[in-house]
């Protein structure tokens, strides 16, 4: 970031803090003012038809390949899957250097991120015999993680961070499965790891994908730890504390999507306790009502917490 841009950013932040203006306020105003700018409709139609055109071309190519799949030999199958992915990647790198094609970079990276692993899996399936899915996943996602991180060091794009995260965690899942770790333990560890990674990137300019990863990794952590502690009294009583901790951390992390996942986790854990310890008791209907009041209180508290997140 050059000095002028940095100075402007500092000034904007100073004004925003002085008048209590949030990032959401600025974004909403920019979206609202966009139609009034000159050439907006022209740019809008151009964007819509560009995306539709690209989508149609991509869908047509995929359909064409799938129609003749049985007629292709192994080399051709690898070429028609991995080849376009590699081409899209090269085009993305070239487009990044030219301001005229800046908007094409993300769609090209998306195509590359989808087709490259597909092509590599086809390569493994066509030329190697074996039943080791974990090893195959490691062979595919490991190099792609390195590729995305190297590209990010040059191109500095949020989409690259997202793909790096996606491939990196897929590689780790496969590696941990390969060494014999249980799926629930893997979900818990990678969920926690993913939350930490999301926390870091939420404080960088590459934070556009973080709400999604917060939600997914919070869900993974919650499911993993639940599977490990359920039906293991008295350890399963820790689940309520864990869910409460997640809600607290979501406020610290300033993430609504993390908060939503944490609230769903708390409700799920409460449902588990209700059915596990109170289902056969006469007090079961009372427990349900009390749980309802707890849910109401929790939702009101979550709204209050959400309002604190700027």
């Amino acid at each position: 970031m050059n000095n002028d841009k940095q100075s402007a950013l500092n000034e904007i932040i100073g004004i925003a803090e002085k008048y209590d203006i949030t990032a959401d306020d600025i974004t909403a105003r920019m979206i609202k003012d966009a139609p009034e700018k000159e050439g907006y409709k022209t740019r809008l139609f151009k964007t819509i038809f560009s995306y539709l055109g690209g989508l149609f071309i991509f869908s047509g190519l995929c359909t064409l390949v799938s129609m003749f799949w049985d007629d292709y030999n192994s080399a051709t199958r690898v070429l028609v899957t991995f080849g376009p992915g590699l081409i899209a990647l090269i085009l993305a790198v070239a487009a990044d250097k030219d301001a005229r094609y800046e908007k094409a970079v993300t769609p090209l990276l998306l195509i590359a991120a989808f087709l490259q692993p597909t092509g590599l899996f086809v390569l493994l399936s066509e030329y190697f015999d074996g039943n080791d899915k974990a090893l195959a996943a490691m062979i595919v996602f490991g190099p792609l993680t390195v590729q995305m991180s190297l590209l990010f060091s040059k191109m500095k794009r949020a989409s690259l961070v997202f793909f790096w995260t996606l491939f990196g965690f897929a590689f780790f899942w496969a590696l941990m499965d390969k060494i014999g770790l249980d799926g629930d333990l893997i979900a818990m560890i990678l969920g926690l790891s993913g939350l930490l990674v999301s926390y870091h990137f939420n404080r960088t300019p590459y934070r556009s994908f973080v709400p999604f990863t917060y939600f997914v990794f919070a869900g993974s952590f919650a499911c993993g730890i639940f599977a490990l502690l359920e039906n293991a009294p008295p350890l399963d009583f820790l689940l309520i504390g864990i869910a409460a901790g997640m809600i607290y951390v979501s406020v610290l992390a300033q993430s609504r999507s993390f908060l939503v996942a944490s609230v769903i986790t708390m409700l799920g854990y409460l449902g588990y306790f209700t059915s596990e310890y109170f289902a056969d008791m006469v007090s079961w209907p009372i427990a349900i009502i009390m749980m309802g009041f707890v849910m109401l209180g929790l939702s009101r508290y979550a709204l209050k917490l959400g309002a604190e997140i700027k």
Binding site: K133, I179, I189, Y199, H200, C223, G224
Partner: protein
């Protein structure tokens, strides 16, 4: 380096957590594996062609394999007319596989003794659960999927069979994606001459 760590502490922590766990597990597995002698005794087991082992029966009598075939009145789709008889030698890593089929001109309800293929007829077997060096034949107990992945419809339970002793496992060889181990039935350990 210090400045980088300070600035990206949370990111480094997030990436290093699973890495530390992986290294610790691999180190622990290596230490435990080095303390256990690899399996020295071969194993004989059978697998159905599709899913059901009925109406096949495998016994070890006087250290020799006896195979019998007897259909009952269950529907045909619950009967496997072929099974795979297998001998795995963990020392050489070789797997001998022979397919045996339902006898020709079989009369329903009749118990028929099947001729044991020569390779297996020459083996001297013990039908004890544990091999002489303490290994057992069992199915892998862990699953690569979790509740989280089950939500998205991905469910993968391990079908690997292994020789297991004191927390150390030696998986049977990978036979390729077309041949997964299904409902293997333990028959016996191959005794050394």
């Amino acid at each position: 380096m210090k400045a980088f760590l300070k600035e990206n502490f949370v990111l480094v922590l997030g990436i290093s957590l699973p890495l530390i766990l992986v290294i610790a597990v691999i180190a622990l597995q290596s230490i435990i594996r080095s303390s256990v002698e690899p399996p020295q005794y071969g194993i004989v087991f059978a697998e159905p062609e599709t899913y059901y082992m009925q109406p096949w029966a495998f016994e070890v009598k006087n250290k020799k394999l006896v195979i019998t075939y007897q259909e009952d009145n269950r529907p045909d789709h619950y009967i496997d007319v072929s099974v795979w008889l297998q001998h795995y030698d963990p020392v050489s890593g070789k797997m001998e596989r022979v397919r045996i089929n339902k006898p020709d001109n079989y009369n329903e309800g009749e118990e028929v003794t099947i001729t044991v293929p020569q390779h297996f007829a020459d083996l001297s077997l013990s039908d004890k659960n544990k091999s002489p060096d303490g290994y057992t034949f069992s199915r892998a107990s862990h699953s690569s999927s979790s509740i989280f992945t089950d939500i998205f419809g991905y469910n993968s339970r391990k079908r690997d069979y292994r020789l297991h002793k004191n927390g150390v496992s030696f998986n049977l060889p990978d036979r390729g994606h077309k041949y997964r181990y299904e409902n293997a039935v333990f028959i016996g350990w191959v005794e050394h001459e």
